[in-house]
């Protein structure tokens, strides 16, 4: 009898330890708290507003956050490398605007036009990488300068007037406006595909690990023979390229390319990434976390409309909720 008891006792402990192991694994999962916070906010909104928890609202939110989610992937990479990229918004604008201008005024094939737009974005990333990685100038200033230059080009190319491309080929516009099975926007699908691939790549690929090495300790990385210059170059190119893709998708969605496209993007994506656990000092960050950061911000924005909060209070409430959310997130990770 005693033996039996002991036996079952042992099993219990074992089961217990497995359970606690799983629990630990889950608790150690960096993104858990932010997911919980998002769920809590979501639950609150579902109770407070009958319209929040609906397929259509989620579709709307997903559409709203898809381009930022694409761009935040690049931003995450940049932050992990220990840098910052303020130029994403204006690069996003540039790619879209150039594509629109080439198609509309110069009658280029839309695919060719989009490729050139993307190439222009990549070129800006190359410039950023050149000055930051090779020359060694401060990333904040370099990307602020390229931000200004690209935004300038956005004005020059549009001449201040939004370029209208509503009549672009339907296949192209489908990228921004299409719906799959009448429920999943193509844009959201594209975002999800990019996100899943890059989340996996960031965790698994040896090239992406190099970005972590550099951000964690550039000196150690260089001493170990990692070519920090090239890796940084790559990081800024990826960031710009993703911004470029987002820019092209944006014109496909709206059918218009104004010079101001992407003005709030840099702040939005930096915040999203930092909320999601990326460190401004480098070495830390995940794609999942960053996208969750963007989701959190969009939930707050959506909630404000759902709860019919007055325009004047919008920014106050956003700030306050953000403060509470990140403080909770921080406190829950403090010991780890």
């Amino acid at each position: 009898m005693k033996a039996l008891l002991e036996q079952s006792g042992k099993d219990l402990t074992k089961a217990d330890s497995i359970a606690s192991g799983v629990l630990k694994k889950i608790a150690g999962f960096r993104e858990l708290t932010i997911i919980l916070i998002i769920l809590v906010i979501g639950a609150g909104l579902s109770i407070a507003s009958p319209h929040f928890f609906s397929v259509n609202n989620f579709k709307a939110i997903a559409l709203a956050l898809s381009t930022d989610s694409i761009i935040v992937i690049g931003m995450t990479l940049v932050l992990i490398s220990g840098g910052i990229d303020l130029s994403v918004g204006s690069v996003m604008g540039l790619a879209g605007i150039l594509t629109a201008r080439l198609w509309q005024t110069y009658n280029l094939n839309i695919v060719v036009a989009a490729l050139i737009g993307l190439l222009a974005a990549v070129f800006v990333g190359f410039l950023n990488g050149l000055f930051i990685g090779k020359v060694g100038v401060n990333p904040f200033i370099v990307t602020m300068a390229t931000m200004g230059m690209c935004r300038g080009l956005d004005y020059v190319i549009t001449n201040g007037t939004p370029i209208s491309v509503t009549n672009m080929p339907a296949a192209f516009r489908t990228l921004g406006t299409g719906l799959i099975l009448d429920i999943l926007p193509v844009l959201v699908l594209i975002m999800l595909i990019i996100a899943v691939i890059s989340d996996y790549t960031l965790r698994r690929s040896s090239i992406a690990r190099k970005v972590f090495y550099i951000g964690s300790s550039e000196k150690a990385a260089i001493l170990s023979g990692i070519n920090a210059q090239n890796v940084k170059m790559g990081v800024y190119i990826v960031s710009s390229a993703l911004a470029g893709i987002a820019g092209i998708l944006t014109i496909a969605r709206f059918g218009v390319a104004p010079a101001t496209t992407g003005e709030p993007t840099a702040m939005m994506t930096i915040s999203g990434a930092v909320i999601g656990g990326a460190s401004m000092l480098g070495g830390e960050g995940t794609v999942l976390g960053s996208i969750l950061g963007i989701v959190l911000m969009n939930f707050i924005a959506n909630g404000i409309v759902m709860l019919n909060i007055s325009v004047n209070w919008t920014q106050f409430v956003t700030g306050a909720v953000l403060m509470i959310a990140v403080t909770i997130d921080y406190l829950m990770h403090k010991d780890k």
């Binding site: 698994r204 690929s205 090239i207 690990r209 972590f212 964690s216 300790s217 001493l223 170990s224 070519n227």
Partner: protein, 503 residues
């Protein structure tokens, strides 16, 4: 049998603003030999090795590898040429796992560049097992102690498939057992024909494992010698330019009143029931293996970490330090074992580093008197013989040993009544070490309480009047000066039960 020369450097010069680090230095390294590079702090050893390792470029000079001249533009070039390097300053990525650090620089995935982490961890675990430490490949490096990080550094270099291995003070934070493991590995490498360049300030090590020695002084080549044909005394005199006879100062003569009494200090899960006392005029040693929680005890007494129970009586009065600041105000200081992260402000000047804890001493009405601060820093750098160009230099531009001296200067600056020194002479050359030891004895004679935590048993034995030995967070033995010997200490350090000293 004369082996062939694998590496030969000639006419190397290197200047920094204000300092000529190397002047016309040359030496030859033969295949399969362990070649020591020695010299005082700031003699230029690390600079020379950094040139060999492609980290910095010489102003002039040649590096011949297998009789062919090579020019390295980056550490990668040197690595590709078969040169592995353990740097004096730990250069790991703190956010990443041990395994990832070990394979940093050679990390390669499959065709899609995807990594197999379990394979990576397995391979890392294999090499790590050479050192019998508790380090697991999945641990995040940030969470390791300096000692463990040093092990990782070494393992990382060993895992390289190199022809020449440069070890710049690899044992400065290792304990005996890890040092032994390293020596076994070095012997294996040597047997495989790999050449090793070995920098250390520990003569015993050099005479145990090295075949030849190159001596540098003030950036000049002094001599290259066969170990078999020479004695430590001669090496030291060639190195410092004078004779050093008495390595350790005489022991305490009179012990007066009690400074501090620690009773039953406990921090759950870390250490238990720690009791000891220190009196004026004596130097107390704390010995133990890495992980015996010596550091944690010292930090707790200083109020850096909080304890669960126990009492501290300082100057006859029960004290409870809510923070380290309180302890400093009372004149209690802790000199950290991790100078790079916890001790130094690398991008600030030497001057600012030295005065960090005693600003009030050089300022009036909260305004710092620039002259006074400079004088203060100068006087300490003279006292500790810090090799510098001027005190406005950044701390990062000093040699490792001189950086350690700055941290010591910072704490001596506050005129402490009691100071815990965690590995105080790590990386410090023999000459300076004996000066620091003399100084500690003098301070102790003046009535300052001194506690030395050291993994270097000769230092503990040579310096301390009383030693407590710790193991797994408990005091396992207390030894008086007359009973001090390596065997006794090691017995207690390895035991898990409390002993009184019998015999």
């Amino acid at each position: 049998m004369e082996q062939k020369t694998i590496l030969s450097v000639k006419g190397i010069n290197k200047s920094y603003p204000g300092t000529k680090a190397l002047t016309d230095v040359h030496f030859d390294l033969r295949q399969g030999e362990v070649h020591a590079l020695i010299g005082e702090n700031g003699a230029g050893k690390s600079t020379l090795m950094n040139i060999v390792g492609g980290v910095i470029k010489p102003d002039s000079g040649q590096i011949m590898l297998n009789c062919k001249e090579v020019k390295f533009h980056s550490p990668k070039d040197a690595q590709d040429a078969g040169i592995g390097f353990v740097h004096q300053e730990i250069a790991l990525c703190p956010h990443m796992t041990v395994a990832e650090n070990i394979y940093m620089g050679r990390i390669k995935g499959n065709i899609l560049s995807m990594l197999d982490f379990s394979e990576l961890n397995r391979k890392a675990g294999e090499i790590l097992s050479l050192f019998k430490t508790g380090i697991t490949p999945q641990t995040i490096v940030r969470k390791l102690t300096v000692a463990d990080q040093q092990v990782v550094e070494i393992v990382k270099a060993l895992s390289l498939d190199c022809k020449i291995l440069v070890l710049d003070e690899p044992t400065s934070s290792l304990t005996e057992s890890e040092t032994e493991a390293l020596f076994v590995t070095i012997a294996n490498l040597k047997a495989r024909g790999i050449s090793i360049l070995y920098i250390s300030h520990k003569m015993s090590e050099i005479f145990r494992i090295c075949d030849s020695i190159t001596i540098l002084r003030d950036g000049h080549f002094i001599d290259s010698l066969k170990v078999k044909e020479i004695s430590p005394e001669i090496v030291i005199s060639k190195m410092v330019g004078r004779n050093i006879t008495n390595l350790y100062p005489p022991k305490s003569t009179k012990v007066t009143e009690k400074i501090i009494e620690v009773r039953n200090l406990t921090r759950k899960g870390v250490f238990n029931n720690i009791s000891f006392e220190i009196s004026k005029g004596e130097i107390l040693g704390i010995a133990g293996l890495v992980g015996s929680k010596r550091t944690e005890v010292a930090r707790a007494v200083c109020g850096i970490d909080q304890v669960d129970s126990g009492e501290v009586h300082f100057e006859g009065e029960k004290v409870h330090f809510k923070s380290y600041r309180d302890a400093i105000k009372r004149g209690i200081a802790y000199l950290t074992e991790d100078r790079k992260i916890e001790g130094l402000f690398l991008n600030l000047s030497i001057k600012k580093n030295i005065t960090a804890s005693c600003l009030e001493k050089v300022s009036k009405f909260k305004i710092i008197n620039a002259g006074a601060e400079k004088n203060w820093a100068n006087s300490f750098s003279e006292k500790l013989r810090i090799k510098l160009y001027n005190v406005n230099q950044k701390a990062s531009s000093l040699s490792g040993g001189n950086q350690q001296k700055i941290v010591i200067a910072k704490w001596l600056s506050i005129n402490p009544k009691l100071i815990f020194m965690d590995e105080p002479t790590r990386g410090i050359d023999v000459g300076a070490k004996s000066e620091i030891h003399d100084m500690l004895r003098k301070l102790s004679d003046e009535g300052i309480g001194i506690v030395i935590i050291s993994s270097e048993l000769p230092e503990i034995i040579g310096m301390c009047d009383r030693v407590i030995v710790m193991s797994e967070g408990r005091i396992t033995g207390v030894l008086d000066a007359k009973d001090l010997s390596e065997e006794h200490i090691m017995t207690y350090a390895a035991s898990s039960q409390e002993h009184g000293f019998a015999g």
